[in-house]
Amino acid sequence: MRLGLQARLLALIAIVVGVVLLLGLGAVIRDQARFERRYFHEQGRTVVEALVPSLRNALVVGDLATVQESFDAVVEQRALRALALLDPRTRETIIRATDPPGPPGEPAPAWFRDLLDNVDVVEESAVQVGGATYGILRVEMSGEALLRHLWVEATDFVVIGVVVLGCIVLIVGLFLRQGLGPLGLLVEGAGRLAAGDLTHRIGPTNVAEFSKVAAAFDRMAEAAQEREAELLRARSAAEEGARTKASFVAAMGHQIRTPLHGIIGMTELALSTEPSAEQRHYLELIRASADNLLVGINEILDFSRLESGQLTLDRVAFPLRETVDAALAACVTAASAKGLELRSDVDPGIPALVTGDPVRLRQVLAHLVENGIRFTAQGRIQVNVDAVPGRDDGGLRFAVADTGLAIPSDKLALVFEPFAEPAGVSAGRHGAGGLALAISHRLVRKMGGELSVANGRESGCVFSFVLPLPAAAGDEAANRPPLAADPGTLAGTGHRVLVVEDTPITQTLIMTLLRRRGYRPTLAVNGAEAVAACRKEVYDLILMDLQMPVLDGLSATARIREWEADLGRRTPIIAITANAFEEDRRRCEQAGMDDFIAKPFKAQIFYDTLDRYLKAAA
């Protein structure tokens, strides 16, 4: 236990005063004992001097009876322990008178007697007359009375000492309490400072020393307050900067995607107009370049959001097998172009539905497969999914193996660095041209796993990771529309589609795509028009842009849903926007939208999504 300053001071004072009092008591008692012993001796001598002359006559005539009477009287009168007459030659007792009863009161304890040595006093004197010794007069005085007297004095002294000590401790304690009171203010001040109250000041106290400390404390608080203000300003500026940056990235993404959307869409439309071979070649170059640009932009946006922590994960039940297939499906075209085989092997023991973020998982797998395709000249890309035995969190091991070039062992660690272009890449393979592997690496980590890479036994390399994807309750797979559809096998078959879009190029692109598949599209140039249109007619599906003049897509959706709620109807509404972030998707869901197509999109993705809803509705 740690004692406080006050308790220590009080204990010290109590000990010092106690010791002084005890020493004082010892000195007083010893002095008193010495004085009393001297007094006893004097008394003894007095008795002897007084008694001897009166004894002479009796002793000369041998009147021992008279001597005895005198002795008895004196012993009783002077409170002596004994008076005796001894034979001068043999020292045998001739006469003795004693005072048997002891003095009243409590006897002193043995240790107290030992402390004071012997306090008994014996005084002797020869009784001589004319040169002849008639006897030795012996006066015995008991120290018992003295001891008792001293004991009473000592106990009184101790009681008084304890009272004095108590008073001193009390007074000093009060003084200290008053004197140390400002400590409490300091403690309170420090506590409030620690709790964040930088405006608190202690101010002057009634103790000069503490006032100095308090002033120093107040200066410190003042400085801390100023520092905090500076920090707050700096943080505010930084946050503002971050917000600006995030807005900039989002705006840039939107600004770039929208025209890119137009380029891709229009290129595809142009390609579908049976151009000459040369034109087709150019158009395909345009489309490939636009696709690469789109991939690059998406990667930059994803990476940026991952780095800034803005990217959030879904945690929903999803069909694992379909997700893996969808990832492969996205790469089929590229693989086919190089004559590569794509294979997937999902352990049949794995639950059909697992819990996690299907979009991000698909993204990672697609990145890895695309990476494999890129560095494989011939052979295949194999995706394996196995359950990791002994894990109760539904751990699944994903492995993407290719038959391409191996990575030099000393470059393996650099594969996941963004824009990693290690020396000697020309001799082997390197990162997926920038950010794809870095993004995958970060996404896997965010999902609770660790992406690693190793060279294959014979050739190529294997990317693998383990994710906790526990089995989901229920079986939603049956109710869920298929993620992939066979392109070209489905047609619009006269479905009425309301297109809400303000950008002319996008209007043209979407309307063309719809008409080409047999849909009957109606255009609304802003949210207000869309709401009005919905009130007039019934549509099978609504494609809704988000950023529009007059009334934006989210507000329009909300109004439509309101109006439909009264009619007991629900038209699928699919957002089409260049706001490609996850938060945008969430906001769409919250507004009552059913799905989300990010601009720029490929025609196939567009048709797949429409088919999913219209087919389900059918």
């Binding site: 000369v60 009147d63 004319g130």
Partner: protein, 267 residues
Amino acid sequence: MGRILFLLVLVACFEASAAEQARPLYFGVLNQQSPARTAERWNPILAYLAEATGLRFQLRMGATVRETDAMMGRGEFDFLFSNHNFRREFDGQYRVLARWAGSPVYGVIAVREGSAATSLANLEGRRVAFPSREAFVAYAVPMEALRSARVRVDVVTAGSQEGALTQLQAKQVDAAAVNSRFLTRFAAQTGLRYREIYVSEAYAEMPVVVHPRVSREHADMVRRALLAMADDPRAAAAREAAGSKGFHPADERDYDNVRRVYARSRE
């Protein structure tokens, strides 16, 4: 044979002497002063005697004259400084060895200088102070004189000669009976002015007497020591303590007048 008999006699004598000294010789002193004062004066004398004779002595006395006389009557003293042994009832038991040195003393009846009394007859019915009824020179002798003169007085016992004279000086009594030597000394010390209206015949100082059981040899040793005391340097302290000049030779006849006084006062 003769030699053996001599040895036996010698041993017997030695044993007798040893038995005699198994206890100290008791030396009695008549109460003329307090026992302590008596012891202060006499213990040095006894110490001297012991030194001079090789015998052991112990002072013995009663608390009062009567007790001492009774002890004397019971033969408890080996030696005794007293003249009460000359009383008829005790006379003949002790033998005189020597006497206290000094001129004879006289019994005196004194009055204050201006007193009207000029003879014993004038004291008829008057208050007369005496030291005590046991005193010889200061009581027995003057009382015998008053009786002879057929004068009856009011006897006032003062306790001591000093007391008697102090009462006379204070006019509490008309006359005081004391011994001549003390009267002279007291008057010189106090300035008492007095007139003697009766002076007795001379009486020898008190004797040291010896009990018959004490061997003649020891008695002679003591006598010689007593007589030598006046000049023996070893006795100087004793002489000074006792205020004594030693002892003089004396015999039974020196105390016949004492015997006579006791005999008459008895009648």
